[in-house]
């Protein structure tokens, strides 16, 4: 198993915490709106083949936050800064849920920069049919559970949810409200900018995603120049946590393409 290390990067006023593991082509993995655990089987599988870079979105799960952040596009710019500092050229982007929105923004802002774009249950565009689930009216555990098709899969990842985890989810939620409140979890301009993206894209949706409707995935596929849409069986929104191996089987060969 590839080794993992932790780093703190100072990007202007922002202290960015990053986990990094494996080696090979750089792959930036952008996590969900419920934050991320330090290590996940999906990250480990990717790290067997790639140089996996997992930043913690500023303010997601920690009380220190950049008060000026107002939009996921700000995070997209911040991660370009990170990749520049790391010298990680031609990285691939793997965006999970909310992280998919940031990945799509990054690709739209710098259409020639990336090797491959993977969007998994990505937020960021208004679903033509249905709505993105509103976490504001759900309890912390209920919202996190809604990301899973099988409650047992949720329990396997989070166990008996600790108070620390609840606090972290509340912090994540506060940060999401600060930067993605209205319109909730999508951009009205992003769909019009995706057409320029040169990186081939893989759009993956959990078969039973209740958080982001499939129609949003189809909208991504239509707006991107070269995109394939795939679904993963027995998975909800958090495909990476519920079916890590199945997702990796789709993603790894796609990222390995030349």
């Amino acid at each position: 198993m590839a080794g993992w290390s932790e780093h703190d990067f100072q990007l202007g006023e922002v202290k960015l915490h990053v986990w990094r593991g494996g080696g090979g082509r750089p792959v930036l993995v952008l996590h969900h709106d419920i934050g991320t655990l330090e290590r996940l089987p999906f990250y480990d599988v990717l790290a067997e083949k790639f140089d996996v870079i997992v930043p913690r979105h500023p303010g997601y799960g920690v009380p220190e936050r950049p008060a000026w952040l107002r939009h996921p596009r700000d995070l997209a710019a911040l991660y370009q800064w990170l990749l520049a500092d790391l010298g990680a050229d031609r990285a691939s982007l793997v965006g999970l849920g909310f992280g998919g929105w940031i990945a799509a923004e990054m690709a739209a802002l710098a259409p020639r920069d990336f090797h491959r774009l993977v969007l998994v249950g990505a937020m960021g565009v208004k679903p033509p049919d249905g709505d993105i689930m509103d976490q504001a009216i759900l309890s912390y555990i209920d919202y996190a559970k809604a990301g899973f098709h099988d409650p047992a899969a949720f329990a396997k990842v989070y166990g008996d949810v600790s108070t620390d985890q609840l606090v972290a989810w509340d912090l994540c939620r506060e940060m999401s409200f600060r930067i993605a409140w209205k319109p909730y979890m999508y951009s009205q301009t992003l769909p019009h900018l995706l057409g320029g993206v040169r990186a081939p894209a893989l759009v993956v949706w959990g078969e039973h995603d209740r958080v982001v409707p499939h129609s949003a995935g189809e909208a991504y596929q239509r707006a991107l120049r070269e995109a394939r849409f795939a679904t993963v069986a027995n998975a909800g929104h958090c495909v990476d946590m519920e079916q890590p191996d199945a997702l990796a089987r789709l993603v790894t060969p796609f990222l390995e393409q030349n």
Partner: protein, 413 residues
């Protein structure tokens, strides 16, 4: 001593059994259960009650607003304030208040309030609130910026009232390239602003720094005393000494001709299944970013059902015992009110007289007894205890208009 009459204006004609069955009676409780025929009747009854209250000697009306819930029918306190400005003559119209963070355009709010002040001939007290979390969610307003919006909207409204226009406002949450409202308040330098609250220390400190009276909403005597400790300390640090003119209190008091009838009606104070604002999910009342970070850990446990409500759910008997609900004949409640006045020394007193499904007739009896017997007695006690209200002592409407500031240690250096 300034005493005012308050009611939440309950939408009592809603199907409580369905509310109980669904498990919530706020925010997401469908408005298909709202009956506009009953709503029309109730609005008009409440309006008549205020007019009657003035006739019976009530000197002030306290109005508020809430959204998406039966416990309060007023969706915009400025509407009733406007009507009362025209149809009443003497009573002060106290708004506690406009939820500032909900305002997308505070300049427009400043205009509305200026109009009400002029129409009422200077009887408006435009108090301000942050609004509960549910109010943010019901209006699509970001709860994470609630306090920032509250403070900035306040600054902009006061500027719109006091600064010569046109001027420009380039804030964090509000940007206006032209601020020049052609309606400014009659009261100068501007109408008195009062701030009600129940929980957050930040609001108490903020109000004390502005020198705005703080109105403690139905808190226990012990909690009220703690509020005044913090307010007084902040006032001293700010450079002035706080007194009764800075202190307000709202209390549930139902009076009737007989004790039995008063008790039966006072039980209606718990009509929202024992909750202040109806049954609701904790994350609706306290969305992330809305509450103070120091309560985060405690709150998340409560939100997932691992801890009791920080407010608890005391029974009627307990609330009567704690002195949060008073009921009886005027003779029975006056000594109880005297004790609160003696112990916590407020000069502003809101009497929350009627709630739930108290009949129109009983509500009017309560109002008559309040206006004719209870409130005059309170004013006498106030005189005896030296509880002078902001109008009596002509208190500065804001810290910046103070003429009695003590030199602060750091200023002396």
């Amino acid at each position: 001593m300034f005493v005012m009459y308050f009611t939440e204006q309950p939408m009592s004609a809603y199907p409580a059994d369905i509310g109980l069955q669904i498990g919530h009676t706020a925010l997401m409780f469908s408005n298909k259960y709202f009956d506009p025929v009953a709503g029309s009747r109730l609005y008009n009854e409440y309006l008549e009650q205020y007019i009657y209250a003035e006739e019976q000697g009530v000197e002030g009306f306290m109005l508020n607003e809430h959204h998406n819930a039966p416990f309060c029918m007023q969706a915009k306190c400025n509407i009733f304030a406007s009507i009362l400005a025209a149809v009443t003559k003497k009573a002060k119209i106290v708004l506690l208040g406009n939820p500032l963070p909900l305002a997308e355009n505070p300049v427009r709010l400043a205009e509305e309030l200026a109009m009400i002040d002029m129409i009422s001939k200077g009887r408006l007290v435009p108090g301000i609130v942050r609004g509960g979390g549910q109010e943010s969610l019901a209006n699509g307003i970001n709860p994470a910026f609630n306090r920032e919006r509250f403070e900035e909207a306040h600054d902009l409204i006061v500027a719109a009232w006091t600064r010569e226009g046109p001027f420009r406002w380039e804030g964090t949450h509000y940007q206006h390239r032209v601020v020049n409202p052609w309606a400014v308040p009659l009261q100068k330098p501007h109408p008195r602003i009062w701030v009600p609250g129940v929980l957050s220390k930040e609001t108490i400190i903020w109000a004390a720094k502005q020198r705005y009276p703080y109105i403690a909403l139905n808190t226990s005597i012990e909690a009220t005393k703690k509020i005044w400790e913090l307010y007084d300390k902040t006032a001293l640090e700010t450079g002035y000494e706080a007194g009764p003119e800075n202190r307000g209190y709202l209390q549930q008091v139902h009076v009737s001709d007989t004790e039995e009838k008063a008790e039966r009606n006072a039980r209606q104070f718990l009509w929202m299944q024992g909750e202040f604002t109806g049954l609701a999910h904790p994350v609706w009342s306290n969305p992330s970013g809305y509450f103070s970070p120091e309560y985060r850990r405690q709150f998340v446990e409560f939100a997932v059902g691992r801890a009791e409500s920080p407010r608890g759910r005391p029974t009627f008997e307990q609330q009567v015992k704690d002195g949060r609900i008073f009921y009886g004949t005027p003779k029975q409640v006056i000594p109880k009110l005297r004790r609160v006045l003696e112990e916590t020394r407020p000069s502003i007193y809101g009497i929350w007289g009627n709630d739930g499904s108290v009949s129109n007739e009983d509500a009017r009896t309560c109002i008559r007894l309040l206006g004719q017997e209870v409130m005059p007695a309170m004013r006498e006690i106030g005189k005896e205890l030296g509880l002078k209200d902001p109008f009596e002592v002509d208190a500065p409407v804001h810290y910046r208009y103070s003429t009695d500031l003590k030199q602060l240690p750091q200023a002396a250096e």
